[in-house]
């Protein structure tokens, strides 16, 4: 589902964020991306979300070669990936419902379908009663779950998450992780960047560890 082949990412100041990285994640797999701050986790996720492009090497996601994807096709490519951010990236002047509905509105889904799917998605993350609230009125864990509901509402084949438990206490973090596992069980490929080793060591999924932009360890 996600293939990296000898991928380099150099920034203009000669700093090499990724060097010669190769790995792949199978369809329907759930995997973690770990490593110290500055090891290149964020850069790697940015390459998958096409926020940035590799300087060298090939990135293949869902059978599309991102190295050659033209700019105008990027929006349509991104609709195949649900992204969960550490700081949620919610729109604070819209209700929870409107935030979650955003990907469907962008895709031009019809009104009734949007209502049905947003409610299904909020139900899944346990926030069905909060659809009329503004994000600011929710706790950190709840905001994160709104972000997850938004990421999965259009049923993308791939779910990416960047430190989704970064600001949460251990118990909430476990809840969030089990939520990701539930999506993985219905066939979604899940790839999560995290440094919460205590938590992920208790889970049976593969870990890909980066060190200074290189693949350090896989288990």
């Amino acid at each position: 589902m996600i293939f990296f082949t000898d991928v380099y990412k150099r920034y203009s100041n000669r700093f090499e964020a990724l060097s010669g990285l190769s790995f792949h994640i199978n369809k329907g797999e759930m995997a973690f991306l770990t490593g110290h701050s500055g090891a290149g986790k964020s850069t790697l996720l940015k390459l998958i979300a096409l926020i940035e492009r590799s300087s060298h090497g090939q990135v293949l996601v869902n059978n599309q070669n991102l190295t050659r994807l033209p700019k105008r096709k990027i929006p349509y490519y991104r609709r195949q990936i649900g992204i969960v951010f550490q700081d949620h990236n919610l729109l604070h002047d819209r209700t929870v419902f409107d935030n979650v509905a955003l990907p469907l509105i962008i895709a031009g889904e019809n009104h009734r379908e949007i209502g049905r799917r947003v409610r299904a998605s909020l139900d899944k993350v346990g926030l069905l009663g909060k659809e009329r609230s503004l994000p600011i009125a929710l706790s950190g864990g709840e905001q994160q779950r709104v972000g997850i509901a938004r990421a999965v509402v259009n049923r993308p084949p791939i779910l990416l998450a960047d430190e989704p438990t970064g600001n949460l206490d251990p118990e909430l973090s476990r809840d969030i992780m089990s939520l990701f596992e539930q999506f993985n069980q219905v066939g979604t490929t899940v790839f999560i960047a995290t440094h919460d080793l205590d938590l992920i060591n208790t889970l049976p999924h593969r870990q890909i560890t980066l060190d200074s932009g290189r693949l350090a360890e896989q288990r």
């Binding site: 990236n89 919610l90 729109l91 962008i106 895709a107 031009g108 019809n110």
Partner: protein, 311 residues
Amino acid sequence: MNFPKLNLANYLLRHLQVMLFSLGQLWRQPLSSMMTIIVIGIALALPAGLYVLLDNVKQVSDQWDDATQISLFLQQDVSPERATKLTSQLKQWPQITNTHYQSSNQSLEEFRQLSGLGTLLDSLPSNPLPAIIIIQPNENDLRPDAIGSLLARVEALPEVEQAQLDMEWLLRLRSINKTVERGISILGLLLSLSVLLIIGNTIRLAILSRQSEIRVIKLVGATNAFVRRPFLYTGFWYGILGGLMAWLTLTLSLSLINSPVNELAKLYSSQFTLHWLSALLLVLLPATGLVLGVLGAWISVGRHLSSIEPS
């Protein structure tokens, strides 16, 4: 992967929602929105108001169209028969629509009635007044050079002692009107440009204040068209509301001018009333605003939106 269903009703509904959303955003910042709308309103009202005044001046000067005539004073020795013949000959000229002959006796009679100097005239040994042919130039030949050449031609006739153009000042007024009209067009163009810049700048600020939101929307797969749309509708609303504001300003100003103008017309015992062009401007001003608004937003969005990418 889900392909969007391209359903027209769905698409229009989406546009309607974005349109109302943009209006709602203006509503949520009433003070700054109102200031922008007023500035646009004044910029549009100014050329429109000048145009209305010019149109009224034209209307007045058109009432005096009949007054543009040439009086030919005939030589004393031209016989009435010769003069009548000349009158009908002149009527055949393409530059002349109508002619009227007035013999010296008729002139005397007219003068007697108008001047009240009847007894004095009776004491004169002979009639001192010449016979006159009054000619009405063709409306299309009222340009100063055309009328000048007509004047020269009739003056050269052997029967004519002197040709006199009445109301030369009217032609001057016409030509002043034309100059002013052009000035107003230029002013209108410049002010339209400033409306374009005002809206462009307002949209630029709106884009900057929503930068983080734009990044998020792009990350969840929004196309540039999707991101652009609410800003274009913001321009649309600014334009239309600015146009309505212009109309309101103009109507208010004209109603203030109206009563002194009527007073003035009464003093001149004229039938003149101010033409407001109200209905025409009620369509034209918002329409102009709309076009300028969307155009200004388009230019601004094109310049600033592409630089905002997720990071």
